[in-house]
């Protein structure tokens, strides 16, 4: 029983660490998503705007997309 408890405890510690890692990952992903969402919205509003020159907008967006990735 003692050994089982020790094992359980270790496993719990392991899951705690794992959860911590996941939480961090989720946080990073969430930030990235927010960034992407902003870009997407920007781009969509640009694409929707018929007055915008197509050439210019696509150049602009591809450059900001690259910066968002980094």
């Amino acid at each position: 029983m003692e050994r089982l408890n020790a094992k359980l405890y270790l496993q719990n510690c392991y899951i705690v660490k794992e959860n911590e890692r996941l939480r961090k990952k989720a946080e990073i992903l969430n930030q990235e998503n927010q960034q992407l969402l902003i870009e997407l919205n920007q781009k969509l509003s640009k694409t929707k705007d018929p007055n915008e020159s197509k050439q210019g907008s696509s150049n602009l967006s591809s450059s900001s997309f690259a910066s968002g990735q980094s």
Binding site: M1, E2, L4, N5, L8, Y9, Q11, N12, C13, I15, V16, E18, N19, E20, L22, R23, K25, A26, L29, N30, E32, N33, Q34, L36, L37, E39, L40, K43, L44, T47, K48, K54, S57, S58, S61, S62, F65
Partner: protein, 1004 residues
């Protein structure tokens, strides 16, 4: 060790003195009876037993002795087994919790990953402007998962499907891409509502993590595991379905099409043996829920779309209230077990067999929130009953009034509740809540109590008006209590409030915006209280001073409540302000001529008897301190009462308990230092609160009162003195009590409360660890920043002081002026102490530890030089660095305790300096160190050893003392392996002090 002499078959019934004795059931019963009375009977008692009991008369005394030995041994084993069982249960429950959390987090991450991929894809699509912009825009807008809407979405997607020509490779590629995306969202995401498959636990030896679908169309399963083969090899094996799927009759690849991007598309016909039906072609299943994306920005849209519903319902009738209740329940549950709030683990709260549970606090949410989850060995209904009685565990709760109770129809109950909360300081108004509370059972057998404020947006009846309170809002909060395998409950607690921080002065705002303080004060306090009661119920808690735990808890509650009443001074309690004579308004004085009304409209407040003269007077003040950790300040105030208290005033307060109080003294703090002895009464399971009796040793404070010199007693409650607790307030509250210590003794509490004000901009700041701050100050800028504020130690606390006295009509003015002066002098004392405690270079008393202090640098230079001169060895290994700063740092962080002691012939030696380890060993601070005498630290043999070696030290300069024991300032015993004593010489070779180095010490 078990002695093997029993429970064995023996032909003759134990008549011989042979090895094995068999006892009859009657004999065992007789022995057991004796055992329950006395598990370890003396040999006399054993012989008596044989003589007196006819059943046992044929058994040898030695056998009886062995029986008792074995019986005790069995008992011990049983207890140990039970203990292990309990630990096991806790660990298992914790495991379950962690697994669930893990599962949720995995879902969250996979959601995010999928979102991420989806958005990147969208971005890409939008960027390459060949696609029609209208179509892509629509896609991203509708990417919300609501199970009911999936079908709608599918319909709207149909035209697209019809348009594409699935007979050419491009069409097939598009089907393949779609299938891929959907598969990935199932494999790593939550496109299917996955649940962990029972009996498949993750762990070092498990095959992997296996989940099965729930409520999805069709049936689904997924597994994830680690394989020691190359990916391509694994793919090759898995693709050969017939080799591993026993039910697979045949797999025919009818055509192979290169996908153009390096991938391959195959069209496959598969036959499966009965009872399975042939698997469907992937093209059909692709249609299902292909847009399963949650974009966080769109949740608001959904909430908005619910608004019309809010407006429509009539919140004044039971059905309308039920709909509010159900909504609150859903929202509470999504906070308790979900991710509706952006939770972060609270620092310093780690899971483990003895931990209170998992505590998280909110980040960037509107309002502040905290949640805790823990295991309690009480039945769910009992836990609910305890937690619902908020006044019993929430110290800041003044009253809870249930104004109406409505059966919810489904077996649940809806209550409308008005709650008043004390203000923690005199600097802000108190808060109240008008809430709806919904208690009900869930389908899975767990019990839930959730609560939320009724506001103009939710609708519902208006709460009672309140003049002296600011209405705060409770967002859906509550308790989820789940029965636990093997007894006990798992409790999830969520507190989410908006305390209207904007209505308090700016300097106090952090207090109302700190989720850490909320966590400590409410969430963790609730969990602690339930656990405390559970432990008391199971008998794990020892009675203190012969009192029942419940009685002691009532004492603590009365002290807290009385102090809160004094700080708040509510008009409906009978308090009114008393103008000051000397014009200064730094101290406010209030009087209460009807102390019988104390305690407000609650049954908890019946703590005061009308015996308090004609009235009670309270002098109070609040002040801001910088860089003073609350725990350190309160600990200092507790341990060094003579630094701030006045014996005469204590005497007046104590005498007011008796019939004839003596003359009102004039306040002069520290005038007559009196010895205090602290007698512990009780402490909570986690030692965050101590109830104790302080005995002030009597001496007459003026010649005329010589005859009245007697000991005085204070009942004292001290909490929050653990420096490692994040966001905790520290408090020292005491009340004079007479020698009888009656359970219902009247208490008129006074005291201090220190609350940390944490700035929102530095979420990790105010760690409250003074030694760490000191060390970081010593190490210059290297360790700053991460642990504390921008300047290494820039945080504030607010101290609230309130002192209460009784008065008679004719003494009112003199008591008022005494109280005012007394509190003013205490404010002065605290400022002095704070200056000394604050880890700030240049402050008057602690300057010796600061790197800039020339005195400290000189002292350290003398210490190390003298050591080298006398012993020929270096104190820090190599002494190549002669820089003063480095020396100081090395000495400060030296692993052995190094202490300096004054060297005067006419006075007993006191400590003058210690490094960090030295302070740890003596359990003291640099300031308090200077009150500690060497004689009281060393034990008898240590003193003798020092005396006999003293001539040698004076001659040779140093001596080694053998291993021994000494005592910390708190009376804890410390053992050390060796002590080196050397003479510290000044630059002109004159004696400065004695230095001690205690090697390898540890608390006994």
């Amino acid at each position: 060790m078990m002695v093997h002499t029993m429970h064995r078959e023996s032909p003759d019934k134990g008549l011989d003195s042979g090895k094995y004795v068999r006892y009859t059931p009657e004999q065992v019963e007789a022995l057991e009876r004796v055992y329950t009375e006395c598990p370890k009977p003396s040999s006399l008692r054993r012989h008596q037993l044989i003589r007196e009991s006819s059943i046992l008369s044929n058994i040898e005394p030695k056998q009886i002795k062995v029986w008792f030995q074995n019986r005790r041994c069995r008992e011990k084993q049983r207890k140990e087994a039970a203990r292990l069982q309990t630990v096991n249960r806790k660990l298992n429950a914790m495991n379950k919790l962690l697994m669930e959390e893990n599962d949720r987090l995995q879902k969250q991450v996979s959601h995010l990953v999928y979102d991420n991929g989806h958005m990147k894809h969208q971005l890409h699509t939008v960027t390459s402007s060949t696609f029609a912009s209208g179509t892509t825009t629509d896609n991203s807008c509708e990417s919300v998962v609501v199970s009911g809407q999936q079908h709608q979405q599918q319909n709207s997607n149909h035209p697209q499907h019809l348009q594409r020509d699935a007979n050419n490779p491009a069409g097939l590629l598009s089907i393949a891409e779609e299938a891929l995306a959907e598969f990935l969202s199932k494999a790593t995401g939550t496109a299917v509502d996955w649940v962990q498959m029972i009996g498949m636990k993750p762990g070092p030896d498990s095959i992997g993590i296996v989940s099965i679908s729930r409520n999805c169309s069709g049936i689904a399963a997924r597994a994830c595991g680690l394989v020691s083969l190359e990916p391509m090899k694994v793919a090759e094996i898995l693709k050969d379905r017939q080799s591993w799927l026993r039910d697979c009759r045949c797999v025919d690849t009818l055509s192979v099409i290169p996908a153009g991007n390096g991938g391959t598309i195959e069209l496959i016909y598969t036959q499966m043996y009965a009872p399975y039906f042939g698997m469907q072609a992937s093209g059909t299943t692709t249609d299902n829920s292909c847009e399963s994306v949650v974009v966080s920005g769109q949740q608001h849209q959904q909430q908005n779309s619910n608004h019309p519903q809010h407006l429509q319902r009539d919140a004044n009738n039971p059905a309308g209230l039920l709909s509010i209740a159900e909504e609150a329940l859903a929202e509470f549950l999504s906070k308790a077990t979900g991710t509706a709030v952006d939770w972060v683990q609270m620092i310093g709260m780690k899971p483990g067999p003895d931990s209170i549970g998992i505590v998280s606090i909110s980040r960037n949410c509107s309002g502040i929130a905290a949640r805790a989850c823990g295991l309690v060995s009480l039945e769910p209904m009992k836990v609910a009953e305890i937690l619902k009685d908020r006044q019993s565990w929430l110290r800041d709760c003044r009253c809870v009034d249930t104004l109406s109770v409505i059966p919810a129809g489904n077996g649940g109950t809806i209550e409308l509740i008005y709650t008043q909360m004390y203000a923690p300081t005199t600097l802000a108004a108190a808060r109240d809540f008008w809430t709806l509370r919904y208690s009900t059972c869930l389908e899975d057998g767990s019990y839930v109590v959730c609560e939320r404020s009724l506001t103009s947006t939710t609708g519902g009846p208006n709460g009672p008006p309140s003049s002296s309170f600011v209405r705060a809002e409770m967002r859906p909060s509550g308790f989820l209590i789940r029965p636990c395998d093997g007894g006990g409950s798992i409790v999830h607690i969520v507190d989410h409030v908006d305390l209207d921080a904007w209505s308090v002065p700016e300097v106090m705002r952090p207090l109302y915006e700190s989720s850490k303080i909320l966590a400590q004060k409410m969430t963790v306090a609730a969990l602690r209280h339930v656990r405390q009661i559970a432990q008391e119920t199971s008998g794990e808690v020892q009675y203190g001073g012969g009192r029942q735990p419940a009685v002691l808890r009532t004492f603590s509650q009365k002290l807290c409540r009385g102090f809160n009443d004094a700080v708040n001074g509510f008009v409906d309690d009978g308090w009114s302000p008393l103008g000051s004579n000397d014009g200064a308004e730094d101290i406010s004085v209030m009087i209460n001529l009807s102390p019988g009304k104390f305690g407000g409209p609650s049954h908890y407040g019946s703590s005061f008897l009308p015996s308090f003269g004609s009235g009670v007077l309270c002098a109070k003040a609040s002040m801001l301190l910088e860089n003073v950790p609350p725990a350190v300040l309160v600990r200092f105030l507790r341990e060094h009462r003579s630094e701030w208290a006045d014996y005469g005033v204590d005497g007046y307060a104590a005498a007011s308990l008796r019939a004839s109080p003596f003359a009102v003294p004039c306040a002069r703090a520290g005038g007559f230092p009196s010895n205090q002895v602290i007698l512990p009464l009780a402490q909570t399971v986690e030692h965050e609160e101590f109830l104790e009796v302080v005995r002030l040793e009597g001496h007459a404070y003026s010649p005329e009162e010589m005859g009245l010199a007697r000991d005085m007693y204070l009942l004292q409650l001290c909490s929050g003195v653990d420096e490692n607790v994040v966001g905790g307030c520290a408090q020292l509250v005491f009340a004079p009590i007479d020698e009888s210590f009656a359970d219902d003794a009247p208490l008129l509490p006074s005291g201090f409360r220190v609350i940390p004000l944490e700035h929102k901009s530095t979420p990790n700041g105010a760690s409250g660890n003074r030694t760490l701050d000191l060390a970081s100050a010593l190490e210059g800028s290297t360790r700053q920043g991460s642990e504390a504020g921008p300047n290494g130690c820039n945080f504030r606390s607010v101290v609230t002081i309130a002192f209460q006295f009784t008065f008679d009509n004719h003494t009112r003015d003199s008591v008022a002026s005494m109280a005012r002066q007394y509190v003013r002098s205490i404010v002065g004392s605290i400022q002095r102490v704070a200056l000394a405690i604050a880890p700030r270079p240049g402050s008057s008393i602690s300057s010796i530890s600061a790197p800039t202090s020339p005195e400290a640098l000189t002292l350290v230079r003398w210490i190390s030089r003298s050591y080298r001169v006398h012993t020929g060895a270096n104190l820090f290994g190599s002494d190549s660095q002669t820089s003063g700063d480095t020396l100081l740092r090395q000495l400060w962080s030296h692993t052995d305790a190094i202490l300096c002691c004054s060297l005067k012939t006419n006075a007993s030696p006191v400590f003058t300096f210690a490094n960090q380890t030295g302070l740890d060993m003596l359990e003291t601070t640099l300031v308090a160190l200077q009150d500690i005498m060497l004689d009281k630290t060393l034990d008898e043999s240590g003193r003798k050893a020092l005396c006999s070696e003293f001539p040698k030290i004076m001659q040779q300069g140093y001596a080694h003392l053998p291993a021994g024991v000494c005592a910390s300032s708190m009376g804890r015993l410390v053992s050390y392996e060796q002590a080196t004593v050397w003479k510290v010489l000044e630059d002109d070779e004159s004696n400065h002090c004695l230095a001690f180095m205690f090697v390898n010490w540890s608390f006994v």
